[in-house]
């Protein structure tokens, strides 16, 4: 666990530098006046929190009635605490329910968000915990997506069920569930092709996959995870909204937090949808899938010490 936090921190440290710089600059004068708060609001916007959430957070900060000279850290601390408070209820680590055998997880998201990599990381993690894992290479659309997943599967010691390119993902998922049941696997991870949420046909395909799975196990899938790219701006809200409308999303994963993007839109999403954030991706290796720690996330976002 410690190593995950370390990685998250180094990842977020880079993320944070600019935000901290701007907040530091904003608070250089040490008196919390209107201009300071405006600049603080802008720093939050620059971190992708979105104009309305940023305005709300700063309004809350304003109400605190800062008297006289205030330490820069005090204001940042307060802001970080506010953000952590919004995020705290949604931090629910990924765990598979041992009473479900196999525990079926379906991973969905728009193209390029990092679904396949995330599944690979999960598989490797579960494999290390000594669990028997089956992966369904359900992205039958993108060229070589199956080959990519097979490499991950072999690293994780998991069995990978694949179909022909362009084959029906629902049939493949069914087949994989059958296989997972036969060999008594602990977990089945189903990858899906990337789909933009505004494509009705592709979203219907996803609904069909779930219907077909339920013919084999009425309780499946036990968890549907939506993968979000931290680089994404306000459109992430739209993604969550529409995916949630059409399939029952149980949790979110925020990937690519090791880049310069700050993933602040997660705060807006947490406020609006209250969906659990089960993991964050902070790099390309299997260890780079960390549990989501709201306090650390908020602290690192604002560059305040714990």
């Amino acid at each position: 666990m410690a190593s995950w936090f370390q990685r998250l921190k180094t990842g977020l440290a880079r993320t944070t530098t600019r935000l901290v710089d701007s907040i530091g600059a904003a608070l250089g004068r040490k008196r919390v006046d209107a201009a300071t708060l405006d600049e603080l609001e802008e720093a939050l916007i620059a971190a992708d929190l979105g104009p309305s959430v940023a305005a709300k957070l700063v309004a809350k900060l304003r109400q605190r009635k800062w008297d006289g000279e205030v330490e820069v850290d005090t204001v940042k601390r307060a802001l970080a605490d506010d953000i952590a408070a919004i995020l705290a209820p949604v931090a629910v680590p990924f765990a598979i329910d041992p009473t479900r055998r196999p525990h079926v997880t379906l991973v969905v998201g728009v193209n390029g968000s990092g679904k396949t990599t995330t599944i690979g990381k999960f598989a490797e993690r579960l494999g290390r915990e000594g669990r028997k894992v089956v992966i369904a290479a359900g992205d039958t659309f993108r060229a070589a997506a199956v080959a990519q997943l097979e490499i991950w599967a072999s690293r994780a010691g998991a069995e990978c069920i694949r179909g022909a390119d362009g084959s029906d993902p629902a049939a493949l998922a069914y087949q994989a569930l059958e296989r997972a049941q036969t060999i008594g696997a602990d977990a089945l991870l189903i990858d899906t092709a990337g789909r933009l949420h505004n494509k009705a046909d592709l979203m219907a395909e996803l609904q069909k996959l779930i219907r077909v799975l339920r013919k084999r196990d009425a309780s499946a899938p036990h968890r549907i995870l939506l993968v979000l790219d931290a680089t994404t701006g306000q459109n992430a809200i739209q993604q969550v909204e529409i995916f949630k409308q059409l399939v029952e999303i149980d949790g979110l994963i925020l990937t690519k937090l090791d880049g310069s993007a700050r993933g602040g839109v997660l705060v807006a999403i947490a406020e609006r949808f209250a969906l659990p954030v089960v993991a964050v991706g902070v790099g390309e290796s299997a260890d780079d899938l960390a549990a989501f720690d709201p306090k650390q996330f908020a602290d690192a976002l604002l560059g305040v010490g714990t």
């Binding site: 390029g112 690979g120 997506a145 080959a147 949420h197 009705a200 790219d229 680089t231 690519k256 090791d258």
Partner: protein
């Protein structure tokens, strides 16, 4: 949540109706709304500031034309300024170099580089009649080279043989060598996704650039990118030198503010946009369309094109012929309903229409959604062939039967019949507008109840 900018400005300017010139106070108030709209569209904060300052300069003292409201006037000024900033003309891919002309594709992980590479290769092959070679220099992501090889097979574009264990720079050399020997016109070099702050990988990209001296270095960026677009574009431009930008996933519903951010900070043109998963879904960049989108004014041209792409041409022509003869029947209505659903349902279509946000909210509250369309299709499906041809046959008894057959109520059937009559009447009026006009009116009509 994204309110139309025109509507917002409408509120601000409601009390200003009829004034002569835009005063400083009016403009500032309006620009606050513009600022918010741009930020919601993910335009980077620094870019928003510069942009707003530019608009302000242009807007103050501007005479308001009689026929428009001050709000509309400001929207127009903002829109024009936006189009200018985005680059008012389309910019072509530069192939003016000694063949084989190297083109380098760079970007973050998951931005769509490999797919774009294949699309561009196909475009250069078909449109420009070039002999193109694709090479994947992505030795990091599992099976990335394999992905490009498969795409090569799908598009019929040559790809460089995969040699296991070879580094990116060596692959690039090998690609250029094969390009020279075999007389290729263009060599597309698809690189691994990299973070702009990863010095090692950025150094590697720079080494590839030095080894191949590309005529174009295209930065591939996802249209959904947020504020980070500025950092990404700046870093890639400073460290590798970008000559153009490709925006992908423009077929999504992101407002695409990243386009403005990147254009503003790099000064490089947006050359191409990716519009779908198919290998031919690549188009030149139209600044005016993205401008409308960023401002939440809808994308009419996009809507018409989407309609044209989805609606089977044959079916549309058949329909047009029938309408001209005044023969629009319930079968035709069912076919229109089907097409509407294929275009992404009401939500998908509405998102592209200007000023529709208000209507959309009303529809949401009235629970008019895509299920209604489906139900209407079911009602028509429960009619006999004769009934579908002649609506007058539908007496109370038949309507009861149809309601039972489609799992709806007689009221639903009545409503559908009424809607059909209204449509048929409209169809007669617009038949002289021809196919496109017909299609549009048909769809617009479906929104009425």
């Amino acid at each position: 949540m994204f309110e139309n900018l025109s509507q917002r400005l409408g509120k601000v300017f409601d009390r200003l109706r009829g004034r002569g010139a835009l005063s400083e106070g009016d403009v500032d108030e309006a620009l606050r709304e513009v600022r918010l709209a741009l930020l919601e569209a993910d335009v980077a904060l620094s870019v928003v500031k510069t942009f707003i300052a530019g608009v302000r300069l242009r807007a103050i003292g501007q005479e308001v034309i009689k026929s428009v409201t001050p709000g509309q006037m400001v929207v127009k000024i903002v829109h024009d300024h936006l189009v200018e900033t985005l680059g008012s003309t389309a910019s072509e891919i530069n192939l003016r170099a000694v063949p084989p002309v190297p083109i380098l594709m760079v970007g973050l992980q998951g931005s769509g580089k490999t797919t774009t590479t294949a699309k561009l290769a196909l475009r250069l092959t078909q449109k420009d009649r070039k002999k193109v070679l694709m090479a994947s220099l992505d030795t990091r992501r599992p099976a990335a080279q394999e992905q490009l090889r498969v795409l090569g097979e799908q598009t019929g574009v040559a790809t460089l043989e995969i040699v296991a264990g070879q580094g990116p720079v060596d692959i690039a050399h090998r690609a250029m060598e094969r390009g020279r020997v075999e007389g290729f016109d263009v060599v597309l070099l698809d690189t691994a996704g990299r973070l702009s702050i990863d010095d090692e990988l950025m150094g590697e990209a720079a080494a590839i650039r030095d080894a191949t001296r590309p005529a174009e270095t295209l930065l591939v960026v996802d249209a959904m990118t947020g504020q980070d677009a500025v950092t990404v574009a700046t870093n890639f431009n400073e460290k590798i030198g970008v000559t153009g930008i490709v925006m992908t996933r423009v077929d999504g519903d992101a407002r695409g503010g990243a386009a403005l951010s990147m254009r503003a900070v790099t000064g490089r043109p947006i050359k191409l946009i990716g519009l779908g998963e198919k290998v031919d879904a690549l188009d030149v960049f139209h600044p005016d369309r993205i401008a409308g989108r960023i401002l939440g004014m809808g994308d009419i041209v996009g809507l018409v094109e989407k309609a044209a792409e989805t609606v089977e041409k044959e079916e549309a022509e058949k329909l047009a012929r029938k309408v001209q003869k005044g023969e629009f029947d319930l079968d035709d209505m069912a076919s229109q309903l089907r097409q509407l659903r294929k275009m992404g349902g009401l939500g998908g279509v509405m998102g592209m229409l200007p000023g529709i946000q208000k209507v959309k909210a009303q529809l949401d509250s009235a629970r008019v959604d895509d299920r209604v369309i489906k139900r209407q299709e079911a009602i028509i499906g429960s009619m006999t062939k004769a009934e579908r041809r002649d609506v007058k046959l539908l007496n109370a008894n038949r309507r009861r039967r149809i309601a039972a057959g489609s799992g709806t109520s007689v009221e639903d059937v009545n409503r559908l019949v009424k809607q059909y009559m209204e449509m048929a009447r409209m169809m007669k009026q617009v038949s002289k507008l021809g196919q496109k006009g017909l299609m549009r009116t048909g769809i617009a009509n479906l929104f009425r109840r």
